[in-house]
């Protein structure tokens, strides 16, 4: 294992994050505050409680997941797409590193950035609502697994993308709708029965539900199922990456 290489990729990617630290932080804090103002205070004041939790607090896990999933995906996809775009990928392909090391470096950095932003949003939420965390270890575990698995997905998108439009396409067309319809702002039980059934095909439901369980001890789906869903998703991403590097798809001729 070329640990020095992993460390170098990780540090180089994190440097990109810290170069733009202000905008990296201001944007999630601002958008989260807006969500709290609109959903938590304005609309939330008309909704008393959801599953015994004040609506303002209820949306916190969903809001964190929303940002973490989109940030992890966009950071990881950009991280590997940018070297492809500017041509510096040649160095990665001619270096004595294997795909596991490259993936750990890039995905690790993207996951760290997403975790960082997730934590910032969590802290911001404290300024708006009272939050209790019922299962802190499970909360951290869910957050970590989400950061890593969506960074893996982003990594795949970055390798696949042939231009900047494609880089935006999947996050915009697939991830954002799935996250919004995955129960970020509502409980699945609030939907009509037919939509409850349809929603169960959305993998994000399981992640948000599991994460919300870690906060409030109550969930839309059993927590074991949530854990299984995220593990399956991660395994699928890892398999795809293994295949990409084995065949050289879109990176090595």
């Amino acid at each position: 294992m070329n640990l020095t290489a992993i460390k170098s990729i990780y540090a180089f990617e994190m440097a990109r994050f810290f170069r733009t630290i202000t905008q990296s932080l201001i944007s999630p804090v601002l958008s989260t505050s807006l969500y709290f103002v609109v959903f938590g205070t304005a609309i939330g004041s008309r909704i008393e409680t959801v599953e015994g939790v004040s609506y303002g607090a209820f949306i916190v896990p969903g809001l964190i997941m929303l940002s973490v999933m989109t940030q992890a995906t966009s950071n990881a996809s950009f991280g590997i797409y940018f070297p492809k775009f500017i041509g510096t990928i040649y160095e990665l392909l001619s270096a004595p590193v294997n795909f596991i090391e490259i993936t750990i470096g890039y995905v690790g950095a993207a996951a760290t950035k997403a975790l960082f932003i997730g934590t910032i949003i969590f802290i911001t939420a404290f300024f708006f609502v009272d939050i209790q965390v019922a299962h802190p270890i499970a909360m951290v575990a869910f957050l970590l697994m989400t950061c890593i698995s969506f960074s893996l997905l982003g990594f795949i998108i970055g390798i696949w993308a042939g231009n900047f439009e494609q880089l935006q396409l999947i996050p915009l067309l697939i991830i954002t709708p799935l996250v919004f319809l995955g129960g970020s702002f509502y409980s699945v039980t609030m939907l009509p029965p037919i939509w409850q059934t349809i929603t169960m095909f959305n993998p994000v439901v399981y992640l948000i539900s599991g994460f919300r369980w870690a906060f409030f001890g109550a969930a839309d789906v059993p927590v074991g199922l949530s854990l299984m869903a995220i593990s399956l998703f991660m395994a699928a991403c890892l398999t795809a990456i293994w295949w990409i590097f084995r065949t050289g798809w879109r990176i090595r001729q």
Binding site: S8, E91, P96
Partner: protein, 308 residues
């Protein structure tokens, strides 16, 4: 000397069916500068990319320092530094960080003194903390070389290091290459500038249509294949070449004021003295004379034309 890079029966056919490399065999000796000369699309970059691991070979083997570039890619690639043709650099990072990154990527522990020394040797010492995007084109090329040298490779590939570069910068780059050679690094450079190969290479390989047509010591190539010309200025223009001189390879140029004699340097006798005597006998008076060696360019054009 032992071959540090050994290419055996290397073929590369792209998915489109295009055969970029057709059974390449090439041994590169340690410490030499080999110039791979060929027209655009000859397969120069594909050959370099395949040796460096960017392109997967269809068949054949490449060994660097005795290590197979596919089976023992870690050891093999550790020995190689690559300077690509395009200026591919992270624009927002500082020069020293981008060089440090390259060193780390190749598994070498961080060594700021080493990085500083490399930058200094490439006249980039005062640009260490500058952002890459602030540098001139020539400096960016030096940063690419610094990155390639960051892990102290034994073999350095320079893919068209002076393509699109002005004359001053080109000479400057040649000096950089000469300095590198002095440190014992083996250098393989591709170029389609003949004068470049002629100026800095020890050996020249001519590549065309995915095949190596010839690899030879530069001076040997020139003396073996080079023809020389003797140009004789005549005091009065001649309209025809006298019949008594018909045994010689002669031509009249400049409206008959210059008589050009082409001869082979490989022959024991050049026939110059005899020709001059016979010219006097034929009544041709000369005012001056000079000789010219045919350049690598003439040889190259001849080879590529023969292969077409």
């Amino acid at each position: 000397m032992a071959a540090i890079v050994s290419v055996k029966n290397l073929r590369k056919t792209y998915d489109t069916g295009f055969e970029a490399l057709k059974s390449i065999n090439l041994d590169i000796e340690e410490g030499e500068i080999l110039a791979l000369l060929g027209p655009n699309g000859a397969g120069k970059t594909t050959l370099i990319s395949t040796i460096c691991g960017i392109t997967v070979p269809t068949s054949g083997t490449v060994k660097v320092g005795g290590f197979d570039t596919v089976l023992e890619y870690r050891q093999a690639r550790s020995l190689i530094g690559l300077v690509p043709q395009e200026i591919n650099l992270e624009p927002f990072e500082t020069v020293q960080n981008t060089v440090r990154f390259s060193r780390g990527l190749f598994g070498k522990p961080r060594d700021d003194a080493k990085v500083a020394a490399i930058l200094e040797s490439l006249s980039l010492g005062d640009k260490a903390t500058a952002k890459v995007k602030e540098l001139s084109g020539g400096m960016k090329r030096r940063v690419l070389i610094a990155k390639a040298l960051a892990h102290e490779p034994r073999v350095l590939f320079l893919d068209e290091p002076t393509a699109g570069v002005d004359v001053v910068l080109r000479k400057d780059m040649w000096n950089v290459v000469a300095d590198l050679k002095a440190t014992g690094v083996t250098i393989i450079l591709t170029t389609h500038y003949i004068e470049e190969a002629e100026a800095i290479a020890d050996r020249v390989g001519v590549i065309s249509k995915g095949q190596i047509l010839l690899v030879q010591d530069k001076s040997e190539m020139m003396s073996q294949m080079g023809k020389k010309q003797l140009r004789v200025d005549l005091s009065a223009p001649a309209t025809t070449i006298p019949a008594s001189l018909s045994d010689y390879d002669l031509a009249l140029e400049m409206d008959g004021t210059v008589l050009v004699y082409t001869y082979d340097t490989r022959k024991e006798r050049t026939g110059i003295r005899r020709l001059l005597n016979e010219m006097a006998d034929a009544g041709l008076q000369m005012t001056d004379l000079q000789t010219q060696q045919s350049s690598l360019e003439d040889i190259f054009v001849g080879l590529v034309k023969d292969n077409a």
